[in-house]
């Protein structure tokens, strides 16, 4: 599957295209296979998100998991500061990312 991601214009936070809006949670991301270029162009023009781009991902336990480690780190936050990630209370966070 393909996901569309970018950084929020105001906060710089990592965001994911849900099919109708942007969310900071990858769980909300929609498969944009086939429409990624058009959606990216449109959203770039709307200027809510910086330079959106598409990445590869696969479904794992019902949640999209980006294929590349860099995108998985983007998804949740720095591995060395679990307290600053989106899921600070999640004990298996590291296994999902790495």
């Amino acid at each position: 599957m393909r996901l569309l991601t970018g950084n929020d214009l105001k906060t710089g936070a990592v965001t994911w295209w849900t099919g109708s809006d942007w969310s900071i949670h990858v769980e909300d991301a929609a498969d944009v296979t086939g429409s990624e270029d058009e959606t990216a162009r449109r959203e770039e023009a709307a200027r809510r998100v910086n330079a959106p781009y598409a990445i590869d991902a696969e479904m794992q336990d019902g949640v999209p998991r980006p294929t590349h480690i860099k995108e998985r780190i983007r998804t949740l936050g720095p591995t060395v500061r679990p307290d600053l990630t989106l899921k600070p209370a999640e004990p298996d966070l590291g296994n999902w990312v790495i």
Partner: protein, 544 residues
Amino acid sequence: MYQYDQYDQAMVDARVEEFRDQARRRLEGKLTEAQFTPLRLKNGLYLQLHAYMLRVAIPYGTLDSRQMHALADIADKYDRGYGHFTTRQNIQYNWIKLEEAADILADLAKVEMHAIQTSGNCIRNISSDHFAGAAADELVDPRPYAEILRQWSSFHPEFNYLPRKFKIAVIASDTDRAAMRLHDIGIQIVQNDAGELGAAFYVGGGMGRTPMIAPCINPFVPLDQLVTYSEACLRVYNRYGRRDNKFKARIKILVHELGAEEYTRQVEEEFAHLLEQGVEPPFAELERIRTFFEDPLFEAGASSDIDRSDPDFALWVDRNTVAHKADGYVSAVISLKPVGGIPGDATAEQMHLMADLAKDYSFDELRVMHTQNIVLPHVRAADLHALWTALDVAGLGAPNLDTVEDIIACPGLDYCSLANARSIPVAQRISERFAKTGKTETLGQLKLKISGCINACGHHHAGHIGILGVDRKGVENYQLLLGGSEAEDVSLAKITGPGFDEHGIVDAVETVTTVYEREREDGERFLDTYRRIGMNPFKEALYG
């Protein structure tokens, strides 16, 4: 310390308002990201993996307590309670909002700081010896020269769009504590046989994907021609540096391709031309700047005696204090490398504490080291125990300067959009490993440096042991390098062989230290042993 005059302050204030307007137009959609990116970068605002990142310039790494308090306040008010001191003596904040960036710049301007020219293809923050003005071995304080070059290079219209970024370091002792010869221009203040001061120019050094050691192109430039000669070096680069290939655009490539001799010839030709133009600031300006860097009022006859009855304190004194030019004083290094910690990170509370301690014990001065630690440059020996006690309580008392635990690490893939692999967790595991085995002290001086990509912000080429993180089909892999040095015995490290995974690299580092322990002769550092016995014994131990 240098203090802004009305022109400095007016320029910085104007820049804040200019950026405020630029950010507003971006937020209102009147500027595209492509239009806005070069504007924000010129103000130190990057977009990293998780958020905007702001890099704040700390000229030649010198701060006073008021400025350190302000940096702490920014960490608390606009970020997530911490900052990251970098390998170029700056500080970075990792969680900045575009909406608040101009407010941060305004707060910085109130304490004579800014983020101008901390990115982009321009002359970056001038770096220097972190013991400047205090070191027992320095010829003079190099900071007035760094300051005049800072003023010359700030907003220099001719050098705002160089082929690539440009970094200058200035030192004034034979001991190189600023990686001087690994800069685009390295300047050493020297003295000739007549007792006159001058500047030796080393041009074309650097790390990154093509590491090079700068050759000396002129061993003695009179100090009243310092700016003119710098301008000549830049002019030749600006004219002939490659703009067609980002990876070949640094001055080191130009100097290498032309040859140092031909590059020097062109610089001398341009220099002769510039001398006729009269671009050098009046010498009185240098004298004026010098007055800001006069010695504090050291206590005459201050005692050098230190009560070493507390072994933990004694170890810290041995490890983390450095000889001072004034009797009864030392420079004290505050390690930002606790075992298992993140190299260079400091919380707002720690920054406030370091500021208070600088006020109490170091004539209100602090320095940022390129090795991501903090220096209190002028501490009375009699005050060391009180200082150490306060640091230790706050987790800042690690006695590990220049040991295997004192690791330089770039932010790596945990934060940086350019990185290929994580650096910080590798540093954490290595420091934990050596702290656990108890070998840190017995290994002595061992400089370990980790970069998460070929851009080498973690100075891996210059590590006695260097580690470079690479991406192998989406999996982190770590190359091991040996034999580098950024000091006066400068050398570039060589790769041992095939890389290791995240766990294997920690074992590999321990393996090479075991070879060192087996092979070392009396008084040899790791680097000395490597240079004597060569790579093969280490390769045999690593790969069989």
